[in-house]
Symmetry: C2
Subunit: 221 residues, 2 copies
């Protein structure tokens, strides 16, 4: 028997390659998708332009919500003048890029939107490479927050994090199979004209493309 | 032995009498308190003016964060032109006043602020009278969300909801003992010049003052 529930989903879309591949993945599962991005004052606001372009290409309705998060969540190099650390993504210094409780804020907002849209699911793109540095990308965090979301309203929302145990390389390989367009996904934390190649995010992206046997289209331009 | 931890706390302050009394309560416990309010487009934005006045009186630092929540969380009579229902606070019609997932959004933002301030605790003023209508004021919701907050960052945040099993009458009685100034706490959902006396919020406030054997100073003016 077919499930009788409608399959509506909200995808939290940063504009990077994890959530970008997630968008392809969720669409491939047959969901009616709406994408949800947040401009929280990130240094690499450029990722939002990429998110917009990808949603236009995939014909997915897209909301960009403005949130002055840096007014209250201070001290991150992603939302201030503190320099972005260079090096590997899992190095201790990368903790400087944590925006306090960012993912709970983004997911909570996405769930508000999901309830209004009667969408049963909220997807977010946390992956295994995030676990070392970002507590709010770990399976136990997703599980606990998911339990709260189930009972936050008369309409129950399910949090899905299908990439949470995949490496970025495995995500890239999945994207390759899905025909994902990586020229429309921005990763670099610096957010300048071209990727810096030195921040943890760039380093991890390069490793992922290498693992998947792909060339990075953003480096070909 | 004295606890060696610092006692910093963030109080989510709406400007109403539950969170207002909560502010007195947390101060009485010796915490170093900062109050956190959110302008989410509520019809009764007036409550924020009351929150400000109270923080000035109590000499508590106060942040009012602006959040255009009604752009995504639609359909509530608190954030739209849909009329506020009249009647008792626990009537089915009061569900019209739910703002989808509002409390998780407010608490998540308060926790971002708490982490930045190195405040171990976030207090919110849910009470037993809320349970019938607002799922995000129930003990099981507070418990689940609290478990996620514990692990959202390297700095652990504890969610406290000390009024969650008290009636509004019991809160008023506690406020009376604490010398709380109820002329600085706004309750009415309509947010007009004077309290309407007919919305669920006004009806519940009147019952609470009656229970506590107090006159409502907002009705004496």
């Amino acid at each position: 028997m077919e499930e009788s529930v409608s399959k509506k989903a909200i995808v939290v879309l940063s504009g990077g390659m994890d959530s970008g591949t997630l968008l392809y993945h969720v669409l491939s599962k047959g969901y009616e998708v709406k994408a949800f991005s947040v401009n929280y004052g990130q240094r690499h606001e450029k990722e939002l332009e990429y998110a917009k372009k990808m949603c236009v290409k995939l014909n997915v309705p897209h909301t960009v919500f403005s949130l002055p998060l840096s007014e209250i969540a201070r001290g991150s190099s992603l939302t201030s003048d503190i320099p972005v650390p260079h090096g590997h993504y899992e190095e201790e210094s990368m903790k400087q890029t944590i925006v306090p409780n960012r993912n709970m804020v983004l997911i909570a907002l996405a769930a508000s939107y999901a309830i209004s849209e009667k969408a049963e699911k909220v997807f977010y793109g946390a992956h295994a490479g995030d676990h070392a540095i970002y507590p709010d990308c770990r399976p136990e965090f997703a599980q606990k927050l998911g339990e709260a979301l189930k009972i936050c309203d008369w309409f129950s929302v399910t949090l899905e994090a299908p990439f949470i145990n995949l490496t970025k390389g495995e995500i890239a390989r999945m994207g390759k199979e899905l025909g994902a367009d990586y020229s429309l996904m921005w990763t670099c934390y610096e957010g300048k004209e071209t990727p810096c190649g030195k921040c943890g995010s760039c380093v991890e992206r390069a490793e992922a493309f290498s693992f998947a046997g792909m060339e990075d289209p953003l480096l070909q331009m």
